[in-house]
Symmetry: C2
Subunit: 339 residues, 2 copies
């Protein structure tokens, strides 16, 4: 197949730090090429991804993040360069509603975030002639009056995650310093369970710092530590040594990538049953899903008894890049065949 | 005619302070209604404009200014509400390239800013099936490979501007505290001409304050004053008392609204011949167009001898809301007839 992939104009592929969408697009591009398909990427010109990028693409425009002017120009140039594709998978917001794309070209899009009320009209209009991919069944269930073509869970390069033995004598938290991520709840759970906690979290903007000062910092101790932000190697080392990833999300996250990273490291996950968690974690096998602090604390105390090989096996079989790529190629073939 | 007018989602109609686009759309809406046409406005729900607004429109989203997510949702809801219009004039960026607008509906758009390189692909794609209005011949001349349907100069409610007698013994500057507006050059011109200058300028963001401190403040004196920002009544009073508006623009402004406000007050304009100035000012009649500080200073000394009634007359005949409305209705009728 000749597959056009439209990423965002804000972040290179792969993303240097945070960039959930761009990480997925980067892995899809590499995966399609590895599977023998022809790929053309609309992405910032300063991307390191080895798949071909539209010539003369401008570099990532982080200052223009979210702006119509930047996104729409990127979209126009993308479709201008893709008249000969068999299918385009468009990860922008403006693109699936762009008027002048090549006639008859099958277009797929993915909603990488929640189906917020503000987006409802947009996705309803898109779904008229675009195949919409949801990233979890929970997310799909919140798409009011919007037809979802396929649910495809994210995948990661499991081989790049070293398996840890979980003998570090601590649990860990990984994410952003944000109330929705439940950093405070994680600290409370660890304290109640009497298990040390190591917190690695992005903390850059004002809201994140305020939340840390007010809600998390008072719970820190010699056993409950904030490590700052980690690079990829440090992150995997932290995960591998942990008896469990503690992920007491306080919002229905559409897909929790950190949970599949933990599984890849062989580390069970103790989480609230919010958003996609029930689709990722098998309660009693690869972790525990519990509602409140006492129940999460009790579960955390048990997590060390779970079979770490089973966690890794689930990552390999259900959350690998290969599986994500294969699911996309199945959908694409079906859409091209239907044309 | 049944005319759909799509304004931005960022600012109510009329705009409370700055908002060039929204001021034009507000005057068009009122003018079309006064001319007996049916109007439906896509605009923030907290607008005071008396023309009908799409029911349940959300209030102005100033924090979301420029964001695709906000603009695209506004556009989808706008076209959903306009299946029965004879024509839509869309002042957004995403709207003219929106995929799912009613088939066969004639759409007009206006570029309210410069044709910057970043926008070229967008306007080229738009012009395929949208009639593009330019706001000056100079602006139109910069639209590389983009077909312009019509040049329509802005107009204002001339009757709402009191005619002044210009006997205040000063020249004035009105605009933003920005190098492109030539505030420093205005001060230099006034000093060289030996004519007092009163500067009224928006100064809110960091760049504006820095420019003031570095480039303008050192030139202030008892004769060259910075007044701050003025409300509408104060602005017209300042213009009416001035022997001339000094407008030494340092960039090709697509349309200088402040120049037609000066003319409406009977006040000649001494300006650089940049952008639209040569289309607005008749050299030697309603002002002077000169390139550099010495020539501008010599012209400023002569400006008091120009006929103020001639200035007002040009505002009435060429830069009124009525003329702007009439030009739009002519274009609309032609496009509807051609359908």
């Amino acid at each position: 197949m000749r597959i056009g992939l439209i990423s965002t104009p804000w972040t290179p592929l792969p993303p240097p730090a945070y960039g959930g969408i761009e990480g997925v697009v980067d892995r899809l591009a590499r995966g399609f090429v590895a599977a023998g398909h022809e790929v053309l990427l609309a992405a910032p010109g300063d991307s390191a991804c080895p798949a071909p990028i539209i010539p003369d693409s401008p570099p990532a425009d982080v200052d223009g993040m979210g702006l119509s002017e930047v996104e729409l120009g990127h979209v126009v140039r993308a479709y201008n360069a893709m008249p000969d594709m068999d299918l385009v998978h468009d990860h922008t917001l403006c693109g699936p509603l762009y008027r002048r794309r090549p006639a008859g070209l099958p277009v797929v899009t993915t909603n990488h975030g929640p189906f917020r009320a503000q987006l409802r009209d947009i996705y309803q209009a898109m779904a008229e002639d675009v195949a919409l991919v949801a990233i979890s069944h929970h997310q799909a269930s919140t798409a009011t009056n919007v037809r979802i073509a396929r649910v495809i869970h994210h995948g990661i390069d499991v081989d790049s995650v070293p398996v840890g033995d979980g003998t570090g004598g601590y649990a860990c938290f990984l994410g952003r310093m944000n109330p929705s991520k439940g950093v405070r709840e994680a600290a409370m759970v660890a304290r109640e369970a009497g298990i040390p906690l190591r917190i690695a979290a992005k903390m850059q903007d004002k809201g994140e710092r305020e939340y840390f000062e007010c809600a998390v910092s008072p719970l820190l101790s010699s056993d409950i530590e904030y490590l700052g932000e980690l690079n990829t190697g440090e992150k995997y080392e932290l995960l591998g040594g942990a008896c469990a990833l503690l992920n007491p999300m306080q919002w229905p996250e559409p897909f929790g990538l950190v949970m599949i990273e933990a599984l890849a490291a062989g580390t069970p996950v103790v989480a609230t049953p919010a958003g996609s968690a029930t689709e990722i974690i098998d309660d009693g096998v690869t972790g525990y899903l519990r509602e409140d602090v006492p129940a999460l604390a009790a579960a955390l105390a048990e997590a060390g008894t779970l079979d770490r090989a089973a966690c890794r096996e689930v990552a390999v079989s259900r959350f690998s890049t290969e599986r994500m790529v294969s699911d996309h190629l199945d959908l694409y073939a079906e859409l091209i065949g239907r044309r």
